[in-house]
Amino acid sequence: MKDIINKSLLEISKSLQMRQIKVREVVEACFDRIDQTEPKINALLCMDKESCLSRALEMDKSGPDPDKPLWGVPITVKDVFCTKEFPTTCGSKILENFQPCYEATLVEKLKNAGAVILGKNNMDEFAMGSSTENSAYKNSRNPWNLECVPGGSSGGSAASVAAGQCFASVGTDTGGSIRQPAAFCGITGLKPTYGRVSRFGLVAFGSSLDQAGPMTRTVADSALIMNVISGHDPKDSTSASRPVPDFLAALEKRQDLKGMRIGLPTQYWMEGLSPETLESCRNAVDAARDAGAVIVDVEMPHARFGIAAYYIIAMAEASSNLARYDGVKYGVRDKSSADLQEMYRKTRSRALGEEVQRRIMIGTYVLSAGYYDAYYKKAAQIRRLIQQDYLRVFESCDLVCAPVTPSPAFKIGEIIDDPLQMYLTDIFTTSLNLAGMPGMTIPVGLGRDTGLPVGVQLIAPAFEEALTLQAGQVMENALPGVGTPTGLG
């Protein structure tokens, strides 16, 4: 089993295509690994072993399909995507047992590519959180240290991939929710350009910020998933109609970083970084330099307003996006209420978690009469300035490199009672979502003090995911890597 689950997605896919291994064997290996690790990490909200195994048998019977790049590959998806075959809860009690009669475009694409979806990953309720502690169902744990959070909101996805339960997961990133858990769990996570991947069927948190992307153990695996999930969707008006490059093929075009200019925003390389994070991230920059990249300091003067602008916009959109959870059309309802208004209030306050209520309320506040200009509009203006910062930087650089988090994974319960403190941990990730740019976390090594993984972000201009993947793979090859998680025994 170890042989199987330690392989990369690309490797297992090749073995499957060449019939060196059966789909059933691979699926069974994953479920064995789930049986072994799930009690420790709580990465999944639901799974369906039986139907996955019977599907595997059918696939083995019909044989590989070379046109399906994920043929027979077991993966998981964050429970934020609507699926016909699994319930979709978004980590919330209010959607307990909600069974959509439609499917996210991304899930359709994964299935059409031959992927076997084992189950769905735990997450912070409605993707609101940085630790997965806001899930209404369970606390996921970091496979490197079970006392630590796996990050969030795609914490279940990161933990699942790091623990070898599957070969990839697809998460979503509104303000760092792919990149931060990827960093905490020592895996690769790519947030594509806003519009690159369809949002149809992705339960919305902040509609102008949300973007789905791969979480994998290698950069090449992310490239392969990107090939499958990218592209225009007529059902999503914000999905880009630009051509999609072959990301996997792009990787072969670069063996080094010669001629590539990588900018380090001074604003992100100064304040508040833990010593081990700074050290590991510096190692990553050194690796890039050794591979031929030109490293330059750049300025992002509006970066310090990023968190404020991000949270205002995300919460404002969330307050409106979550108004639909009212006990009328789906999900749960408080049945004790005799009149409608009481039913609304009781349903929402009983079935939505505290962090979700907090964000709905602040979002409502910043949009309400008299505060719109001072908060929502102001934040949108700062968003413009932050986007311009990026555009200016990309006039002289090909990529931007920054830390992902100020320090490695924190302990469960450590900051959950201080919401502002929790928000501030997103300091390096949110500006990217405001600007719509793509960014990828790659693991750079284990922190000297904690022994926990540290990641670094590579940020590219809009629709240049191929660049982050290329640089990421060169650096991945040059860096020592993190190895297998140490917390699973």
Binding site: A308, K377, A462
Partner: protein
């Protein structure tokens, strides 16, 4: 900015949330903290800056006017906490 308990109650009402007294207290404290942090934006002069509401570059995405029926009423209604064969049912609207 300090957010008062009355303010919290007003927002809860707009958002159709019912907060217990201690929650109102707690939120008033936390919101003051969070909104206070947001207020750092005020130190930046943004006059004349065009707001950016979405990074999408798309313009005027439109579809043709063709009617389709892709879903059965039964499947849509079945997700509802209370429904009959034709309608969603809610507690009486006063």
């Amino acid at each position: 900015m300090k957010i008062t308990r009355e303010e919290v109650a007003r927002i809860a009402d707009l958002a159709r949330l019912e907060l217990k007294e201690e929650k109102v207290e707690k939120f008033a404290f936390q919101f003051s903290d969070i909104i206070g942090y947001m207020d750092k934006m005020n130190s930046l002069d943004t006059s004349g800056v065009e707001p950016l509401y979405s990074p999408s570059e798309n313009r005027s995405v439109m579809r043709e006017d063709k009617a389709k029926k892709d879903y059965r009423r039964k499947d849509l209604l079945s997700s509802a906490p209370d429904h009959d064969e034709e309608y969603l049912i809610v507690p009486k609207i006063l």
